[in-house]
């Protein structure tokens, strides 16, 4: 599913993504636009569940969009609870749907 706003009366035609970056989400490589936040990449590809809550396993995604409510957190490069609405994509970033409080994984970039 492509949710990109390709053409816009005020903002014009979306420039092509030749210099785009790729983000690996649950094992699937997704095309992202440089400078956008992780939540935007996921929404652009029609992915609606970012995490499942700890006790009831309910699905969640973006809510406030300014980094305050933490509804949109996911595990990013092995770090759980990363706010995807304010974290900008980076080529090769590994993003995982988070279950519950998440778990610390291996940081592949050596951090």
């Amino acid at each position: 599913m492509n949710m990109r706003v390709e053409d816009h009366p005020i903002l014009g035609v979306l420039d092509n993504e030749s210099d785009g970056v790729r983000v690996v989400v649950d094992g699937e490589a997704l095309q992202a636009r440089p400078g956008e936040v992780i939540a935007a990449t996921l929404m652009a590809h029609g992915r609606s569940v970012f995490r499942y809550t700890n006790r009831r396993g309910e699905p969640r995604n973006l809510f406030c969009g300014i980094g305050r409510c933490t509804d949109c957190v996911m595990t990013v490069d092995g770090i759980p609870n990363v706010r995807t609405c304010v974290t900008v994509v980076r080529d090769g970033m590994v993003v995982e749907t988070q279950r519950g409080n998440g778990a610390w994984g291996r940081c592949d970039d050596g951090r």
């Binding site: 053409d7 816009h8 009366p9 005020i10």
Partner: protein, 183 residues
């Protein structure tokens, strides 16, 4: 069961989202009926006192007056207005259009602001709508103005059957599903 539905009978922009005939008539943004018959003229549908006055300085003929209190309603002087349409794209509220009632024996023309894609093209047949977005009739696009001066607010000029003169204010925008099909 009796339900108090008085709210649904309330008229006016604060209740329906669209100005009532009374509000439009009282606001001072319309020329006289006689002037409207005579040739192209602006229709300013700005009925609330909000702080805004770009229309005033946009008019080269000084036909629009807001005055020093910028929340005053714009007053149209129909005798000065020539229907040039320079005010249309300048209005931040997209509340101005120009109509030429007797453009021809059978047709009226309207020029209205339009900020959606795709833009119609000259010659297209489009669905023209009233203030509630309901389709009134079809019309033919005569021109689409997209000058730099308009700053991305296009002005669409269309002609349509004179019988619908008073109702038409805009055109129906292509819904997202129609856009999908168009791809």
């Amino acid at each position: 069961m009796t339900i108090d539905r008085t709210q649904n009978e309330r008229e006016g922009v604060a209740y329906t989202g669209t100005p009532s005939e009374q509000e439009l008539h009282d606001s001072g943004g319309y020329a006289t009926q006689e002037r409207q018959e005579r040739g192209p003229v602006a229709f300013i549908e700005c009925v609330e006192c909000i702080p805004c006055n770009p229309c005033e300085s946009a008019c080269p003929y000084h036909a629009i007056t807001v005055g020093p209190d910028i929340t005053a309603l714009p007053q149209l002087d129909g005798e000065k207005c020539i229907g040039c349409g320079l005010c249309i794209a300048v209005c931040p509220g997209l509340a101005i259009y120009v109509k030429s009632k007797h453009h021809s024996e059978t047709h009226t023309t309207i020029s209205f602001p339009y900020e959606y894609v795709p833009l119609p093209s000259k010659g297209d047949t489009v669905n023209l709508t009233d203030r509630n977005g309901d389709v009134v009739c079809q019309g033919r696009v005569l021109n689409v103005f997209t000058s730099r001066r308009n700053d991305r607010t296009a002005v669409v000029q269309a002609e349509f059957d004179k019988r619908y003169c008073s109702e038409v204010v805009s055109m129906k925008l292509p819904r997202s599903d129609e856009r999908e099909r168009g791809r």
